[in-house]
Subunit: 117 residues, 4 copies
Amino acid sequence: MRETTLNELTEIALKFRDEREWKQFHSPKELAIQVILECGELLELMQWKNGAELEAHLAKKRQDVAEELADVLHGVVLIAAEMEIDLGKAFVEKMKKNAQKYPVHKARGSAKKYNEL
Amino acid sequence: MRETTLNELTEIALKFRDEREWKQFHSPKELAIQVILECGELLELMQWKNGAELEAHLAKKRQDVAEELADVLHGVVLIAAEMEIDLGKAFVEKMKKNAQKYPVHKARGSAKKYNEL
Amino acid sequence: MRETTLNELTEIALKFRDEREWKQFHSPKELAIQVILECGELLELMQWKNGAELEAHLAKKRQDVAEELADVLHGVVLIAAEMEIDLGKAFVEKMKKNAQKYPVHKARGSAKKYNEL
Amino acid sequence: MRETTLNELTEIALKFRDEREWKQFHSPKELAIQVILECGELLELMQWKNGAELEAHLAKKRQDVAEELADVLHGVVLIAAEMEIDLGKAFVEKMKKNAQKYPVHKARGSAKKYNEL
């Protein structure tokens, strides 16, 4: 289902929300709080481990990672819908901006921030 | 561009990464840290304000919100690619699970957690 | 016990850690991840509610808030110890720096960031 | 200044706040958002690096780490004051609770969560 469009995700999320009459709770701020908490749950799956030990652990927790990623994506889609932001357009435009901040010839192989390149 | 597919987003993100030889830095853990920090930047746009004041502020900051949502989405897509997770499938399956945790007749109009319903 | 010193907190935290031989896990980075996750748990106590409803809720959850604050403080104390940072000194110096960033005559009654004052 | 008491930190923070008439903005929820964002800034100092490279980097960024720890501590102290929580007492009690969750004979040398011990 990698061919799923952002529109389809949005429709699923809004249908779920409206069936439960949850729009009243979904201010962008509450949703942003929700998204950062979901990111925390994602990061928690990776705590206290590194290297090969972490890799083996994540291989076992792949389903949990998938669910947390879905939760983060869910919140992102809801905020975009709430604020009438075209997420696909925002993504493409931000990547263009990133390409200017991190030109290939300067950024290749470097983990530095754009203002340190 | 609401018809953009998750596959297309992924291709853009991987092309950007590979041109810069950044795969070496993109462990799921570092990406999860990146995503939570981007969420922080999103939430920062909504700090210290509420109600009508926040709404007016966000209307002015719509472009910034769009960019932060794009950054969060970017990280999510990269983690999914790194771990070979089908994000569209994960989303649809998680929403089904949520539908069981929050049945309409119990959850309608309530902001309670599923374990308090 | 408001007279507890930072030194005393640190001693308690280090004794707890050393009895369990946990120093090996306590890199500043892992501890920083731990602290942000504890902050998430704190914020979770305040989700989806605002105004009088939130106030009533927090009055009931005061013990939980106290525990999450303790957890955040715990992580902060451990990072400071790990990096040989004098937390009391750092606090006093940062407050002086804040006083320069936010001079009283400009900042009074304003929620603006220092670079917008 | 490791002998600084929590009371002294609180007095500094409240004086700073009251001179600027900022109590009106300092709901526990806004402060909790502030604290999680400060944790993000702390974690950002540790991004994309690990092992010896991270250690060398942090040695250079010790002052920045100290300031971010101070900022997190600042927020914690303000929330405690706002909710009339005795932070020293909360800390000691939470450490006792942790000692029960992680008994020495089970937890020694293990990074597992208490519910996996």
